[in-house]
């Protein structure tokens, strides 16, 4: 067979592919990478999330080779990449603006990395057709990029980047330019493509929802630091600090201090919520100051007295509500002045009616939910 490109074997179970080791990078006074260390495993879908300007794109550029760290090392398969120019790294990027070559047809764009590597014309043709099939663009092979829609261009960019099966595919906010419906569709396609090909994806986005739904692991970044790396459920459920809790999903944060430690619960004293029971999620000691994070969906909303069996109860009145469709989000203003966000599924069995603005309600939650975060 003329096909010499083999799909890499996926070794599940944590084979390190890429390692960032104490990577530092600064531009003038702005630190865009502050001693960043993490590893990416073979076949993984890894996301970097963070607000704009947190340094995630700089990290991506360093992995691709367009920028190099001031100190630290980047290793692929245990070998340093620092002296390898971008064109020789087995790493491709899908750019946010796609960067398709305007003078080449879809097929020629996809064939570009294969041509650069000097594969035979036959291999190039077979491989191009195969990749175009993957992204469902076989009918548009002879179109020029400007004749395509946004979603199709996105798929061409993707096809071009996977054509010669790189070890790592970097995706720099590739879905940002698409409308919501198309974005969802592309997310599904991305995941299925990644599973099919087994290429390691490093995905950069500022959308925490995108990161949660796509990734196997997520690194949350701010100001050049990686705050937490974990799988989506742990990032969401057990954020390590205030920033992660606040950035990923919605949550109410109140300052709290530990007054007692029971077998699996903490007693917290809060100014705004009173005495609260929360689960032990990190190592703490009595007297420690920190934050209590509460997710909207963890809180139950009901009439006063409805939740007498829950240890944590606060009273407030409905300040505002937002009908979203599947759920309604309520903003409850507590007697202490704190505004707490909670939600109620509209199809929830036993739901009688929406609470009206100004209505006095009770918020309650079991001792198992909530998360105490270090300062």
């Amino acid at each position: 067979m003329a096909m010499h490109i083999d799909i890499p074997v996926i070794a599940k179970g944590g084979l390190t592919l890429l390692e960032m080791r104490n990577v530092c990078r600064r531009f003038g006074d702005v630190v865009t990478a502050d001693n960043v260390s993490f590893t990416i495993e073979v076949g993984e879908f890894f996301s970097l999330v963070g607000p704009s300007g947190c340094g995630k794109t700089t990290l991506l550029r360093m992995i691709a080779g367009f920028d190099s760290p001031d100190s630290g090392d980047i290793l692929l398969d245990g070998k340093s990449l620092l002296r390898v120019p971008p064109e020789e790294r087995p790493i491709h990027t899908v750019f946010q603006s796609y960067a398709l070559f305007p003078h080449l047809t879809v097929a020629q764009n996809v064939a570009f990395p294969l041509r650069m590597k000097g594969y035979s014309q036959h291999t190039i043709n077979t491989r191009t057709a195969e990749v175009l099939m993957h992204v469902a663009l076989i009918g548009k092979a002879d179109y020029l990029p400007q004749a395509l829609s946004g979603g199709e261009r996105q798929r061409v960019a993707l096809a071009r980047a996977i054509a010669d099966l790189p070890r790592i595919l970097l995706l720099d906010e590739p879905l940002a330019a698409l409308d919501a419906k198309l974005r969802e569709q592309m997310q599904v396609e991305l995941i299925s493509l990644q599973r099919k090909l087994g290429i390691t994806f490093v995905f950069v986005t500022h959308s925490q929802a995108e990161a949660l739904s796509l990734s196997q692991r997520i690194g949350v970044m701010t100001q050049g630091r990686i705050e937490q790396i974990d799988d989506p459920a742990r990032i969401y459920g057990f954020p390590k600090n205030r920033f992660v809790a606040d950035f990923i999903g919605h949550c109410t944060l109140v300052s709290a201090s530990v007054t007692a430690i029971h077998a699996s619960y903490l007693s917290l004293a809060t100014e705004k919520l009173g005495q609260i029971l929360a689960p032990v999620t990190t190592a703490v000691c009595v007297g420690q100051q920190g934050w209590l994070a509460l997710r909207p969906e963890q809180l139950r909303i009901g009439r006063v007295g409805e939740f007498s069996h829950f240890p944590n109860r606060v009273r407030g009145k409905v300040d505002d509500f937002l009908y979203i469709g599947d759920v309604t989000t309520y903003i409850i203003e507590l007697d202490s002045g704190l505004r707490v966000e909670t939600m109620l599924a509209n199809s929830a069995p036993g739901r009688v009616h929406f609470f009206d603005e100004g209505e006095v309600v009770e918020l309650a939650w079991p001792a198992e939910v909530g998360c105490f975060l270090h300062e």
Binding site: A64, S97, A99, K117, R160
Partner: protein
Amino acid sequence: MRGQRKWGASYMNNPIVSKKKWHKQARIDRITQWIVSVPPHLFLVFFLVLPACIMVLASLRYPGEFGGLAPLWKTPGIHGVAGLTLENYRFVLGDLVFVEILLKSAWIAFITTLLCLVLAYPLALLIAHRPKRQRELMVLFVILPFACNFLIRIYAWIIILGPFNLLYSPFAVIIGMVYVHLPLMVLPLYTNLEKHDPLLLDAARDLGAHAWQRFWHLTFPLSLSGIFAGSALVFIPALGMFAVPELLGGTGDIMIGNLIKEQFLESRDWPFGATLSLLLTVTVLAVAQFSARFTQRELT
């Protein structure tokens, strides 16, 4: 037509504009277009179309005794029209020497164009990759020679080439031609290259393209329209050039431009000069048509 369509679109998008108002505005638009375009049209008619017609007519006449054209009534005619003749055409096409000079001129113009391209491309690329402020300064340097009189610059080359014994040779002609036309190649190339998206080069590099591959697969094909524009700007005036071969070339380095000039000023054979001019014009039009087709294909 174009104005009308534009207004149509804005009418569709803007329901506040009534249909009646739109029609009125469209009419005013058309009238404005006419008024604005009359002076350039008049200019073209008086200084391009009319002279061209005069040239065609002159090429069909007999030469006057001391230059100019012979009076119509004193000369025989063709098909009963007095004073007209096809003699000039018969002479031009009958003697291969004129076609040969035209071909040689075309060859020199071609070499000039090629050398200009080879020299201008790296320069244009260099300028396009500089920071914006430096770019403006460098472009200024490129067009600075235009500030000095054309003939003075050619004479300067006599002074430069003289001591090296290179004057009055085809080599000197080519040097002069390249020197004169180089800015005309640099400018369109630079304007083209400057517009290239640097992200495309990054993308190519990311996909495994080395420096030369990036040039041949990206920069060069994307600059083809600039190359054709620059080549047309150089080739067409180079083909008709007479000052450079006159001053720097030897007796054997005569170009079609010199021949034409000679007919009008020295041989005093205006009709024959007009015929040669037409031959040159037709050649230039053919080349322009050819390159326009190429450029168009490049742009679509």
